[in-house]
Symmetry: C2
Subunit: 373 residues, 2 copies
């Protein structure tokens, strides 16, 4: 089958070991990689306006087909002019296919070759998402990067199940590829294969054959030990085409990003900076802290003296601790703002270090300062 | 007793009927009146950063001695450099004394000539606020305008009780006046007297004698019918000194502001624009609407086509309805932003109409368009 022409362009600008500096050009935005995508599940990066996202340097955000299909509905968003217009975001967008969510969020689900029947996590109503349905949803949303509908298994699954699921994901990828998207959209494949190197390799080869404009590593960060996550990333990333962006889905902590970049990964998303922020958990260049801790109640220093974000320029730990302690929504917002700035600043520094061929120095300096829990 | 010198200046710039255009100059900001003060009870106007407040034209915000005394504590805020620095707000601030809150928020309370013993609404712990304690709290906070500690009775109170309470509030006002504040702070008196014209007049005379730099009308918006609120405002406002700012506490709806301006009031605060916003209740120039209503789910118009705020320039009713429906915090924030902009825009238009001696035309035009429920 002839692969559809893609509107997405990827240029490899520099390499430093396996780490890569690239440039992705989509219809809505062009950006350098490695990049971190803030998660805006329900067409909103929680608490952040589009101006806030711009101010911290966001180029691309991730949203979710599963959530938007259920609420407010993809047809509604399409009628409203698509996801970008709906949420007043003129940067790039990537939508996840729903493959992961129908397994992890909905209670009952029933898988078949056709797709996945599931019960909504909102009201229990019954739905079915197939590869074709996922494409219909993401087509309506109008995201720049569309993800194939994949099957994602739990960490504990048997190798036999993982192999069968990998084969199904390939068949589903082909079905997704057969659906016409909008001309500005590009479809990324998702590599599965669990924690099995041979299955990962087979799947990479099958998907490469299909010539997608980009490739994701799926099925990680599903409960495996962290050493396994790193090891599998090091194994999986080089299997994917060198001349296409590589996206590690749903990962992760700052150190996970750095290790994945070292393995040759270009794109990341994770709810960690946003979800943690709402619980008062804040990233600094030396460690993760929880601002709710009483020891910060009189601390008049910024969240991170080494951070130049608006929050660190204006507000003290004592004030942020007060906001969280009093249940004030500004507390969650300001910590979200800071955490996303931290992630984008981290990945920007990663890019600069690759450009200047000193990624390993950066990585060592990072670990010297950052306390990994 | 010699009244302390005040750092607050009030200039009457224009009059149109009883409506007044003035200018208040405090240490932190100078602003024209009539003015609306967004409420930032716990040292945060809920969901709004100081940059947001600046962007919508906020000049002065109100915060609360009762809340800040209980959490995080006024000493802590003083150690942190005062309320302005703590919340990174360089405009003016006014703090309420706690007189109203110890009656309305705390469960058990016991009044005496000394002050009010009460149980914290947060943890039930026992506390006492006296006039001196309220001054100590507000001195520590460092607000530009400090309110006297007053006794505020329920609407149903007997005239005898109201009279006794009014006398006590005068004695308390003197005790407040006897406390040294910081040099940049100014103390406003609060007129009580319930719904009784004679008591209101007596109290106005007693307080005027004490020569405060500003005067508030207290004890309204405590459950009385709206006609009574308007009637009492018309009666009470002219009793207060003409050459001092007049502040109607805790009022109110857009139409209440307009009627109070017509009566000669200069300053307002109310939780309505902020509290309503978080429940999806939004002010427009034609009516109050609730954005959660299903009829807005596909409405691609702005909250108010006549509003030029950031929210109305960028977002549709359909998007805002989605955010509220999905419980997304951005929904509360964007509606707060819009509602405060609406209140500040309304009061700005009121000021322009007084400056141009067409306040009555403005008032009539407002009612012609605005549907008062």
């Amino acid at each position: 089958m002839e692969a559809p022409e893609s509107s997405l362009k990827f240029d490899l600008l520099a390499e430093d070991g396996r780490a890569r500096l690239g440039r992705v050009t989509t219809y809505h935005a062009s950006f350098e990689t490695p990049i971190f995508m803030p998660v805006g599940t329900a067409a909103t990066v929680k608490s952040m306006t589009s101006d806030d996202l711009k101010a911290i340097g966001t180029k691309i955000i991730l949203s979710n087909a599963y959530h938007l299909y259920l609420r407010p509905g993809h047809e509604l968003i399409e009628e409203q002019g698509g996801l970008h217009k709906f949420m007043a975001w003129d940067g790039a967008t990537l939508t996840d296919s729903g493959g992961f969510q129908v397994m992890s969020l909905s209670g009952l689900n029933k898988r078949s070759e056709e797709g996945v029947e599931f019960a909504s996590h909102i009201d229990g109503s019954k739905h079915m998402i197939s590869p074709e349905k996922s494409m219909e949803i993401q087509r309506a949303l109008g995201s720049d990067i569309v993800m194939v509908f994949d099957e994602c298994l739990a960490y504990e699954s048997s190798k036999e199940d993982v192999a069968a699921s990998k084969d199904r994901t390939t068949r589903w990828a082909k079905r997704c590829q057969a659906v016409d998207l909008k001309s500005h959209q590009s479809l990324f494949a998702i590599q599965q294969g669990g924690m099995h190197e041979d299955l990962r390799r087979e799947h990479a080869e099958e998907l490469t054959e299909l010539n997608f404009p980009g490739y994701a590593i799926g099925g990680l960060s599903v409960g495996e030990p962290l050493e396994v996550l790193w090891e599998m990333t090091r194994i999986a990333a080089p299997m994917l085409p060198k001349n296409k962006p590589r996206y590690l889905m749903g990962v992760g902590r700052p150190q996970d990003l750095i290790e994945a970049v070292a393995a040759g990964v270009d794109m990341f998303d994770c709810v960690m900076p946003t979800r943690n922020a709402r619980n008062g958990s804040v990233f600094t260049w030396s460690r993760k802290i929880n601002i709710r801790n009483a020891k910060y109640s009189k601390d008049n220093s910024p969240l991170d003296p080494d951070c130049s974000c608006m929050v660190c320029q204006k507000f003290t730990r004592a004030y942020l601790r007060h906001l969280h302690n009093a249940g004030e929504m500004l507390g969650g917002h300001l910590c979200t703002y800071h955490n996303l700035y931290f992630y984008l600043d981290l990945i920007r520094k990663v890019r600069e270090s690759i450009r200047e061929k000193r990624f390993d120095d950066f990585r060592q300096a990072f670990y010297k300062k950052f306390h990994c829990p």
